[in-house]
Amino acid sequence: MVGKGAMSNSIEELAGSKFLLVIGSNTTETHPVISLRMKKAVRNGAKLVVVDPRKIELTRWATRHIQPKIGTDIAFLNAMCHVIVKEGLHNREYIENRTEGFEALREHLEMYTPEYAETICGVPAQMIVDTAREYASASPKAAVCYTLGITEHSCGSHNVQAVANLAMLCGNFGQENAGVNPLRGQNNVQGASDMGALPTDLPGYQKVERPGVLEKFEAAWGVKLPRRRGLTKITALDQMVRGRMKAAYIMGENTVVSDAHASHSKRALEACDFVVVQDIFLTDTAKLADVVLPAASFAETDGTFSNSERRVQRVRKAVEPPGEALEDWRILLDLFEAMGVPQSLTSASEIWDEIASVAPILAGISYERLDKEGGLQWPCPTADHPGTQYLHKEEFESGKGVPGFFAPVDHIPPAEEPDEEYPLVLTTGRRRSTYHTGTQTGRATGFELLVPHEWAEISPQDAAELGVEDEEIIRVSTRRGTVEVHARVTDMSPRGTIFMSFAFPDETMTNVLTSDSYDFITETPEFKACAVKVEKLAASKAGSPAAD
């Protein structure tokens, strides 16, 4: 493993890569503007290998489409590594100078022959061999891009390690047009983590439990800080159900719709004594709150967002918030005061200055520079530092002089695999014109013509077997719940797999279906695989408006 949860390289660099491995990322739908750089790379002569069980739109530009069975990425990636090592295509000098653990990995990879991997992931062995050779020969200008198709599995963190192993074998870290690039899902998911909104990290990825860190923040903030690392969201929800978590303060998050196994999230918040929700709409989560605080939207506040490539960019207030709504930061400052801990901060710019003073990776960034120079990419340690286009140029970021570690990982099947009762796999994701839980795109006029309602995308073969027609309302059930939804018969879905988004919660609460399993390291839920059954509605109910 190396470094931090961010793209190692920059978006623009993808256009200059010679080889792009896009795995578990429906880029044209979820990051349309990044997909432009991928298409440009192909025009420039690059190879684009799309690894996705679904025939996603990006495959139209791909030089090869690989369709593994859902949740078998590790077998595929390990077999690629196997081929590279076996054929001597790895970068010996790089491995020698900048990594540790290669011998253990080499031994571990022995068993992952392409033929063995084929039995797990269903990808023809020769396709694995060809892809491995192409990746190695394009290195060090070979980039991997992934999104939640890698992380939203119960083996998500191991998937990421398998990707990192591949990149390190061929020396693709610390090189332009290369690297490992998780494309982050939300506008400021990068910033939220950069700011230390994590149970284990203070601002700038400074670990709560690392000696000296708390002392530094205690000096900066002038208070004694809690020693014990905090609870992740998933664990906190569990603690609510058990009655141990008494109060929750939720800012800008529609937990009961967006989280997996929705009925569990709802039960948890109902069990919590006191819930405060701060949002711009009365979301399903806000409806469960004891106090709702009205917040300003992005158009009504000053601040910054950090994008996927670690670029801090200015958000500027264009209009006043409605009614008595206030900027999130203003509400928080008022609440500090109400708690008897007043802060001497009065503007977004002053808050940023405090951030820069405690987080060394952001120390060189100021509003003045952002206004003058546009966005800046961290690490940006000093006021004269230009920002960092790609990471690991000199060494891996996990510590000065500390090399990247090869971490051998094994195939772990999804927690719930199809069986006789629930014979299909449901995988979830987004569509281009419907974003997340639909609180924003659902209120944008015209968008209803692009995607009118939720669709369960089902393969023509499965549809034929079930006697399901396009747009027919069907029932989709898992062990956790049932929804009714319009079928969309499409060859984008491979046989045995159906796909749904979660953007129409009023009609189709997709996340009542999803799995309650999660990655045991990151606690990221397994949104990408659970076992489902699809049924035709009884004749009398067919065409009922239940799901529309």
Partner: protein, 365 residues
């Protein structure tokens, strides 16, 4: 790194533009040199992100190299060391005016141009004004109709099309969507989408790049056009509120009200947007369903309350949990949707005001 970056000068040679010397840059076009020298010429077919087409001939300039005199399209001609460029000689100005007057004879009245009226970004009519081009010099072609296309986002008004082909170039070579193409020849050339000419049934993803590159009122944002007046419109540069790409946008406001979005071409995203950023990033802000007052649950129902009452209640309940169950019985969730400044304060609130590391965000979900 971006396509707009100019290459560094490789020699001491200069290019002289109207008497002003700028560094010669190998491989760069004449247009770059004249802009660097501070001069501007109309560039109706030029899209800076793509290879130049050189078809509109508006950027024609006089150049002199080694005593040879030439007229070249500055968007396509390469700089040469020691080149002398004259941008606004009388005959070139007349030539540009003639082209503009020919285009005026093919297009609708300037007073009705949707881009002039609603956005103020019409390059064609800006050039018409600058060169004092007048309608009527050439016989007026019959009016052309608006495309009968029911899509909610893109208005296509053929009567303002000057056949510059920027929109098809952007659609095919920048977006690689391949939704629009050319139909017909010469004066009957039309921008066209396949089969029945409806964008909703084409590969169009409604990224809106065509309306933003269009130098006239032929392509405009249907959600905005007719609702704004160019002289009152203000623009605020900010970042799209949707995914993690972080494309630069400009919010359009008029009298303190949000009216629409345009891309920010100066941002690292180089003016690219998708349908969400272009057409869906502002009207949710104006929704009637926005929360306008704090709410407190009383008798099981959420009821309006003052800020003082709401914040007082939150503080007292948090404090009482801290006393009876300890700070770790409270959890705070920050948001990938909110600014970094708000996220910073949220984690500081958890750690400093409450005294717990129970702070998380949705990056894992």
């Amino acid at each position: 790194m971006t396509t707009n970056t100019v290459s560094p000068p490789t020699t001491d040679s200069l290019v002289e533009v109207n008497g002003i010397g700028v560094p010669y840059r190998e491989g760069e076009r004449v247009l770059g040199a004249l802009r660097e020298a501070g001069f501007e010429v109309p560039t109706l077919c030029y899209e800076s992100r793509l290879d130049p087409q050189g078809t509109c001939r508006m950027c024609l300039v006089d150049v002199e190299v080694d005593g040879r005199l030439e007229q070249v399209a500055s968007c396509t001609a390469f700089q040469q060391p020691g080149m002398k460029v004259t941008t606004h000689a009388d005959d070139i100005r007349d030539y540009r005016r003639t082209i503009l007057e020919m285009l005026l004879s093919e297009t609708g009245p300037q007073s009705g141009c949707p881009k002039c009226q609603s956005f103020g970004t019409c390059e064609f009519h800006t050039a018409v004004d600058e060169y004092e081009a007048l309608p009527g010099r050439f016989g007026k072609l019959p009016e052309r109709e608006k495309a009968p296309d029911p899509n909610p986002f893109i208005q296509r008004d053929y009567d303002y099309c000057i056949a510059c082909y920027r929109c098809t170039a952007v659609c095919n070579d920048w977006e690689m969507a391949g939704a629009i193409t050319l139909d017909g020849r010469s004066q009957s050339t039309k921008i066209f989408s396949f089969f029945d000419n409806e964008l909703l049934k084409s590969p169009c993803t409604f990224c809106g790049q065509c309306i933003n590159t269009c130098p006239t009122g032929a392509l405009t944002d249907r959600k905005v056009v007719g609702k704004t007046s160019a002289d009152k419109l203000e623009r605020t540069k900010t970042i799209c509120p949707y995914c993690g790409v972080g494309c630069g946008i400009q919010l359009l406001t008029q009298d303190g009200e949000l009216m629409g979005t345009e891309p920010d071409f100066d941002a690292p995203s180089q003016g690219s947007l998708c349908v969400k950023g272009q057409f869906g990033s502002w009207d949710f802000v104006k929704s009637e369903e926005r929360l306008r007052h704090p709410l407190i649950r009383k008798d099981g129902v959420l009821q309006p309350a003052s800020w003082e009452e709401a914040l007082g209640l939150v503080a007292s309940r948090f404090k009482s949990v801290m006393e009876t169950d300890g700070p770790d019985a409270i959890v705070c969730w920050a948001s990938a949707r909110c600014t970094s400044e708000s996220n910073y304060l949220m984690q500081k609130f958890a750690r400093v005001a409450i005294g717990t590391n129970n702070i998380d965000n949705c990056s894992r979900t």
